[in-house]
């Protein structure tokens, strides 16, 4: 049976993982390769590396890093951050990334989704959506790392993007992100039930029960989290064991 996926996310700046991480098992906590390899060893099903480097000059650093990650890690990984052109995608895939994720650039020019899907296959195009529930109780798309509001509803954008050819949707709830109070179950389930592509839920995962909820009530295919893994608040083997015992299909 196809399993639900647990996906640690690593934020990268200038080739280093950003959040203060301190694992005894690894020599250099800031090294995304070491940390990624540790998560893979612990049973992570996939990894996401999100490059938050501001400058274009550092782009080369990213492709070199991706190449090193691909040499070391034996599970699939997605790379995102500032991807705009076919060349950007091509360089990352050639260096061993399995998928790329797009966000703001795809919203501003949705044809890139179509072009990426045609040239590289839908299976490697992940659409990241930063979503926020406003006072009118509707979920809106935000851009530029959550700084810019749009008038587009998340459900509309997600459906358009699927028609254009995205293979997966990574949905981050800005209302829940960083709260550790649980994932946004309603909007995640709404997308999961209405769209033919897998939904990766992100934002708010604070304990094992939250993951259980998002896989059951939230209908998510995968769940992504960062700091709870980085700060060792939730250990991946314990999380997967818990989910397995609760009857969730999971890879042990």
């Amino acid at each position: 049976m196809l399993t639900k996926r647990i996906i640690p996310c690593l934020d990268i700046k200038d080739g280093r993982t950003v959040k203060g991480i301190n694992f005894e098992q690894i020599r250099d906590a800031g090294d995304p390769i070491e940390l990624g390899a540790l998560y893979a060893e612990q049973g992570a099903d996939e990894l996401v590396f999100l490059d938050i480097t501001a400058t274009i000059e550092k782009r080369k650093t990213l492709s070199e890093l991706v190449n090193k990650i691909a040499h070391r890690i034996n599970i699939p990984f997605t790379v995102g951050g500032g991807i705009k052109t076919e060349d950007d995608v091509s360089v990352l895939l050639q260096n061993g990334a399995d998928k790329i994720s797009v966000n703001t650039a795809a919203f501003l020019d949705p044809t890139i989704i179509k072009r990426f899907a045609k040239n590289f296959g839908s299976q490697c195009v992940v659409l990241a959506i930063d979503a926020k529930c406003e006072q009118d109780n509707k979920w809106y798309v935000y851009l530029n790392g959550g700084r810019t509001k749009t008038d587009k509803l998340v459900t509309d954008w997600a459906m358009e993007a699927v028609d254009l050819g995205v293979g997966e949707i990574l949905l981050t709830s800005m209302n829940h992100d960083g709260t550790k109070q649980g994932f946004a179950l309603d909007i995640t389930a709404q997308l999961g039930e209405s769209l033919p592509v897998p939904i990766i839920a992100s934002g708010g995962g604070g304990n094992a029960l939250h993951f259980y909820d998002v896989f059951t009530q939230g209908k998510a295919d995968a769940a992504l989290a960062a700091s709870i893994f980085h700060y060792k608040e939730v250990a991946i083997p314990d999380l997967k064991q818990y989910l397995h015992q609760k009857g969730v299909s999971i890879r042990l």
Binding site: L2, T3, N74, I75, L93, S122, D221
Partner: protein, 196 residues
Amino acid sequence: MNTVIIQYNAGNIQSVLYALERLGVQATVTDQVETIQAADKVIFPGVGEASTAMAYLEERGLDKIIKDLQQPVLGICLGMQLMCTYSEENDTKCLGIFETQVKLFKPTDASIKVPQIGWNTIANLQSNLFKGVSAESYTYFVHGYYAALGEHTIATTNYVQPYSSALHKDNFYGVQFHPEKSAKVGEQIIQNFLNL
């Protein structure tokens, strides 16, 4: 040992190359006929679309070369599908090594997503390719089309219905999953292929 990865317009060549490197094997990536024919082991990778891939192989005469290879050949994902007789993906005639057809998943339940993306189990393992791999081991899949069950099936997986997650005929092997991305289980399978 001389291991060759067939170069064509498919997506996961680097990943396969790096996976071999992790096992201490330096493979050659090539579309040169003589180099492929002279190899001890040939890996035929693939992520992409069937008709485009077949057109590329035919243009370079690789379609005939692959069929006639005598050494162990391992097709991965699209590579395996191209080794079948026919794919529903854009109505594509394939290499015809495995006498089975490749069909689109058609779930009746809307909650089942196509393509299948993620980790699923392999069972009914019937080949040295799976030596040391226990039934119900997890491997990583990304595919919307599947090879039906048949006489060449050496592993089965359930998604929408049971299908062939691995095929074997003579010196030809094919796996639908990505051993290069399937953690330790995948490494074992690649190592087993190298040991054939």
